[in-house]
Amino acid sequence: MDNIGDLLHGFQVALTGYHLMLMVVGVLFGILVGVLPGLGAPNGVTLLIPLTFTMEPVSAIILLASMYWGALFGGSTTSILFNIPGEPSSVATTFDGHPMAKQGRATEALSYAFLSAAFGALFGVVVITLLAGPAATFAHKFSSPEYFAVYFLAFACFVGLGGASPFKTLVSAGMGFSLAAVGMDTISGSLRLTFELPDLIKGVSFLVAVIGLFGIGELIATMEERLEFRGVHARISPRDVLKTIAALPSYWVVLVRSSLVGCWMGITPGGPTAASFMSYGLARRFAPRTGEFGKGVPEGVIAPEAADLALGIPGSATAAVMMGGLMIWGLHPGPMLFVDQKSFVWGLIASMYVANVVAVVLVLFTVPLFAAILRIPFAIIAPLIVVVCFVSAWTVSSSPFDLWLAFLFGLIGYLFKKCEYPIAPLVLAMVIGDKAEDAFRQSMIIHGGSLGAFWSNWLCGTIMTLGFVLLLWPLVSSALQRTKSPPASAGG
C-alpha cells in the first residue's frame, strides 16, 4: 500500500501552522454560514473562492473543505436550538435534537450531534483513504435508473408506519411531491402548476418551505402554549460535554450503521440530505424504543449527524462550485488528479483528518456558548428568530414572494402540528421529488417506457428490491408479531 506513504506525506503538507490557521478560519466561517438558514455551504464556498485565487491550490482546498465542515456543524446547531435547520441536511436532526433542547438537554444534544458528525466524518475519511480510486469509478457507473433507485431507497427507509395516521402521511408526502413539481419541468420544458403566476416559474424552494414549516411553525406553536424554551434555566456546564463523550461509545451500532449509510450515499451520489433522512429512518426502525423517537432520544440525533458528514464529499451544489475553483487554480478535476497532483490530493485527504479534529475541538468548546443563546428572554429571541427566518427566505433567491411563502408555510406547519400531520414526509418529498421524477422519466426514455429499467442490472435491481423490502418491512414485522402473540395487541 503506497497509500500510507502518500498519506504521511500529505500530513506533512497539512500540519503546517499556516494550514492549521486556515482550518480554524474555515471552520469558524463555516459555522457562521451554517447557522444562518438559507445561507449554506454552497454560498460560503462561493464567497470564499475569490479569496483563494492567490493561494496555493492545497491551501485553498483546505480552507474550502474546512468551511464546508463548519457549515454542516453550524447547521445542526440551529436545528437543535431553534428547530430551524441551517442546512438542508440537518433537517433530520431537528426531529429529536429540538425536543432534547426543550427538555433542557441542549448541551447534550449538541455534543451528540458534533461528536457523531465527527465520527461519521472520520469514518468517511478512512474510507476515502482506502477507496479513493475505486469509489470514483463506481460513481461513474451511476445513470438515471440507479439514481432513481437510490432516491426510492432513501424514501422507503424513512417512510414507514410511524405513529401518524396513514392518511395524513399520504397527504403530507403527496403535498411534498406536488410542490416539488411546481415550475419548469426539466424533461419536457413545460411550466407545470404555475397557475399563470410568474413567481411560481422558478418553483417552490425547499429551503423556504423548511424555514416556514420548522422555524415559523414551531414559534407559533410555542407561542400558543406560552412555553418558553425550557432550556432557559438548564445549567450549562462543560461537564455535560464530558458526560456525553463518555456515553457515546454505547451507541456504537447506530454510529457505525449511520456512517456506512453516509458513505454509501456519498459514493452513490445520493447526497447528505437523503443520507441523513435514510439513516434516521433506519435508526428508528431498528431501535428498541421506536415509540420514543421524535421525543428526544440521543439515537435520533446521532443517526442523521453521523450519516450527514460521512464521506465528506460535498453535496452537489458545493461540489460544483469547488470544481469551478479547481479549474481556476489550474487543476483538472477527475481521476487524473491522483496521478498528476499527488501532493494536492493527499494533502487534502490528510487535512481532512486534521480539520476534523480542529472542527470538533472548536465546536465542543463553543457548545456552552451556543446553548447559552437559549437564555435570552423569549420576547427578544422570538422576534429575532422571525427576522432571521424572513431574511433567510429572502437570501434564497431575493424574491419577495418567498417571504409570503415562508409565512404561509409557517401557518401550514402550525396546522400540521395541531392535527398531528407528519411534516417530515413533506420535506423529504420536496427534497428528492424533483430529482426522483427526472431520474424516473429519464430512465423511461432510455428504456422505452418499460419499468424493467429498474431491474436491468444487478446494482439497480438490488437497490430497488431493498427499497421494496424496507417499505414493506413494517407490515411484515407487525404481521409476524401478531402471529407470534395473538392476544397481545388487541385494538390499536
Partner: protein
Amino acid sequence: MEQHDPSASRALATRRTLEVIAAALALAFGATIILGALEYRIGWGERGPEPGYFPFWMGMIVVVGAIGALFEALFARRHADAPMAINADQARRVALFLLPMLGFLVLALIFKLGLYVAMVAYMLTVMLWQGRYRLPAALAVSFGTAAVFYFMFELWLHVPLMKGPVEAWLGIH
C-alpha cells in the same frame, strides 16, 4: 378521559373542527394540483410518463389522503372525546404573535420599505408591546439587530437584502 380542565378558557375549536378544516384545506390543495396537472397530458406515452402524469397522481394521493383524514375526523372515535384543540386564550396569543409578523411583511413588501426598516419596526413593536421592555432597551436591540444584519450581509457576505426609500434617503446602498 373526558375530563376538561375547569380553569381553561372558552373553547374556540374542538379537535374535530380543526381536523375537518385541515382535511378540507388538503382536499382543496389536492384538487388544485389535479386541475393544474390536467393542463398537460397525464398519460403514459411511448417514452414513459408525460409531464402531467406525476403531478396528477400526486394530487390524487393528496385527495385520497384528505378524504381519508376527513372520514377519520368525522366518524372515527379517535378524536371524539379529545380535549379542545384551541381555546380563546391560546388563539389570542397566536394572533398577537402573527399580527406583528404580518405587519413586518406588509411594511417590507407591500409598502416596499425593505427588510431593514421592517425589522426595526417589528422588533420595536414586539419588545415594547409584548415584552414590555423600556424604550431605550427596545431601541438598542432593534437598531442593533439591523446593524448586525447590515454588517454581516451587505459588507461581509456581499448578499444584499431588500432595501427601500429610507436607505436611499440615508445614502446607504
